[in-house]
Symmetry: C2
Subunit: 490 residues, 2 copies
């Protein structure tokens, strides 16, 4: 098969790259580290957006839009924010091109900006600068705003969907009258992300908090959801930050409380990105191609006719018309692929590559017998089933596939989450059987850093509701009160 891809056991990284390209998800652009999201990949993003956007609105948020460009000076205002962010950014310095004497296009040096503008790597600064004008009193709070946007971070090593210089995301930015309310918002949005990951992406996640080392630049607390990919590496799938009063102080955003006393406003921010598409691919797919959870698959059911003569095709087509209508009535997306330029075997491989959850094949004998051949993508099993009641059967099958994909990923994670009590075992496991390692840590940034340098493993999170347990740090042997979750990560 010309569209074959390398086995993921042979070279996981190469497998991912080939899959992204051959399944028509995305490709690299001529601009370093930026990708082109092709229609098939983008349609998955649109489905994700629709679900998340509804979840945000159901929890009281509205969308807005803030400028792409941020004055350079804004980044200096919040000290820890600039440390974490302001390094690798795209900088706009001029606003005009012109033709030179040779007719070539050059930058017009006379059109130099007084202050350079930065393409947003994230929007806390421009948004808090704006909120200053929106907030005077407690009556103006809370502000619950989200933005769907492109952002840019000039990454040195890029990988499609997982780490690109430009990416698409949503960033929620909320303002509150009290710390408690802001923390509750931070936790609520973490739950929204976890719900989305588990029930739509079919991706089991660990909810947790980052260590101070791994916190978002400017946050007092960063919550995250962490997922395990099939190569045993972890992937941070979403973050929700409690920003305290840091940005309010940096941009002087105060409000009068009910007693008329002025105080700084409390903030949160939270985001997920097109990285989730990378997570989706890496968590479920196999050597035949994508495995998409039915709830996010652009095409849920493909129907392939198998025929020799046009008359047979017409016969099949008449039946498919009714079946399609019935499926669509149930909200199921269907494609009938009656192209006469490709053979059924080619089509089967193509839809396996693209991860269509259910394939229906119908030949002349099926028409005589009142049956179809039903193939499910996740297990690659086939069965012959009756045409009678088929739509209901498919509907149930899609639910079963969704559940099964989640269960498989969950088992994989359970099998690859191990408690470890010595540093030797820790290092051995990372190389031999990578996954989540639950281990004691003495709680110091120094130890965390040394482990990272020596093993490339980082503390992915301190799980929420983590059991308290006495133990000894795997590196220093110092006392520890709880295990934390280590892994090598994307």
């Amino acid at each position: 098969m010309s569209k074959g891809i390398i086995s993921k056991d042979e070279d996981y990284s190469q497998w991912f790259n080939e899959l992204v390209i051959k399944a028509d998800m995305a490709e690299y652009s001529p601009v370093r580290g930026c990708m082109i999201i092709k229609p098939y990949g983008y349609s998955i993003w649109e489905k994700m957006q629709a679900v998340l956007d509804k979840m945000f609105k159901d929890t009281g948020h509205s969308n807005a839009y803030f400028p792409l460009l941020i004055p350079k000076s804004f980044f200096s205002k919040e000290a820890s924010h600039v440390e974490g962010f302001a390094k690798e950014c795209a900088v706009v310095t001029h606003y005009r091109l012109k033709n030179d004497e040779n007719g070539q296009i050059v930058v017009d040096e006379e059109a130099k900006l007084e202050e350079e503008l930065i393409i947003r790597p994230t929007s806390e600064t421009i948004i808090w600068n704006t909120y200053k004008g929106w907030i005077q009193s407690y009556r103006d709070l809370p502000i619950l705003v989200n933005q769907w946007a492109n952002v840019m971070r000039w990454e040195m090593r890029t990988r499609m969907f997982l780490r690109t210089s430009e990416f698409l995301w949503q960033e929620g930015h909320t303002a509150h009258a009290t710390a408690e309310e802001a923390v509750a918002e931070t936790e609520q949005m973490l739950d929204v992300y976890a719900d989305f990951a588990e029930n739509w992406l079919a991706l089991p996640v660990v909810r947790g908090r980052k260590t101070p080392n791994e916190r978002f630049a400017g946050a007092l607390d960063t919550y995250c959801i962490e997922a395990l990919m099939q190569d045993g590496k972890a992937l941070q799938a979403g973050t929700s930050h409690f920003l305290g009063q840091n940005f309010a102080k940096a941009f002087d955003v105060k409000f009068a409380n009910k007693e008329g006393k002025l105080d700084y406003v409390w903030a949160t921010s939270w985001g997920v990105s097109t990285r989730l598409i990378g997570a989706l691919i890496m968590a479920h797919s196999d050597d035949a191609g994508l495995v998409l959870p039915p709830k996010l698959a652009p095409i849920q059911v493909v129907i392939v006719p198998i025929y020799k003569h046009d008359k047979e095709l017409e016969n099949i087509r008449a039946y498919v018309k009714g079946l399609s209508a019935e499926l669509k009535g149930k909200g199921i997306s269907v494609k009938f692929d009656d192209r006469d330029t490709q053979r059924p075997g080619f089509k089967f491989a193509e839809y396996e590559l693209k991860g269509v959850p259910v394939r229906v094949a119908i030949g002349s004998r099926d028409m005589q017998n009142g049956t179809v051949e039903l193939a499910r993508r996740d297990t690659k099993t086939k069965e012959t089933v009756q045409q009678e009641g088929l739509a209901a059967h498919i509907e149930a099958l899609l639910e079963e596939i969704q559940t099964n994909i989640y269960a498989k990923a969950h088992s994989f994670r359970e099998e690859n989450t191990v408690e470890v009590d010595t540093y030797d075992e820790f290092k051995r496991l990372l190389d031999e059987k990578p996954g989540f390692i639950s281990a004691h840590w003495d709680g110091t940034p120094e130890t965390e850093q040394r482990i990272k340098e020596e093993t490339k493993a980082t503390i992915r999170c301190i799980p929420l509701n983590n059991p308290q347990q006495e133990g000894k740090c795997i590196l220093t042997g110092k006392p520890s009160t709880q295990r934390v979750l280590f892994a090598r990560a994307y």
Copy 2:
């Protein structure tokens, strides 16, 4: 009333600016010429997006995403394109910031790009560079792709929604095997835009073609829809371009036809932007605030309780609960404003400002009488109606308002479209009673240019299906075969 705005008859331009700010639609940002679209304004854009996106998909298009940044050299490839576009653009020259010895953030001069990158002013170049890889044979055609994105043109004189440096839009980019098919696509998308403008924005538009002077840079033919604002100035509300083979030639995009012969691919592009929000405001609103067509209003019905005691409020609330449910069941968006911090009169003014099409006020006497007071925003008339059958009454009223807003704008345009046969009359009308002027023109770019310089009026379009009629050019007296539509424009 503290939120009052200037009368549009007194200062139309100032009226527009105040309305945008006070109705919470948008505000200027600290970045020159860029706006912040506030939640209320953005929710109108979201409604527009949802309707248009469905129209695009119903006509076979898919969404995709291409990079924000375009290599400078790409703009040199299509000669007429660069003439029209490459001047006022935001230019990225560096990719890193650093702290200098004083702890200030500065651009890292060592991180200078080899080739400057331009923030897309439009995406023909990067997209046709990509299509080269997607198209080999006629089987790969047509490509029907749309992108929702932000773009940037460094405008010198900006105005919120109408002309901002950064704006949001959609840009369709299609590739075809024949000129006929590309022209048909161009015309189809013009019809989609006209349908949207008339049936959703309630904005009557003239479909037409641009003169060569006014064509998009790189197009063989530019179709447009033109609308008339309440100050008698025209506004281009959408364009659809037949690009011929210009971009295919510039980026060497060929395909093998059925006979195996190579030919360049035919192209179209088409777009509408957040400018449509400006059109919406300018076409319908009045001195009390926005007048929104119900089909695009974020809140279609607001319910305001009028009460002295909490017990009365509870009584009203119980009734409103049922009414709201009934309205929502009909797909109508409802807001019940039971804030106790504002008086009814304040609320009435606020929702008039925000253009909510229907207001329901309910007092204790209404509750006794089984009535409510119903006010419509477009005519500002009130009536007392029975609670019985109210939801159906409101549903019909919303349709009537939609129709009425369109009819009013249509009458306005008819009254302000005049046939003129002399240049003196032409100039007098432009100053005294601006609007569309239908006049003969000798068909030369020179005459068009002179009229533009002398009067600031431009040829908005040559209407489709324009009657052929002998006449004399208003400026030169030379023979003309048809009237064209002139106006001063935004």
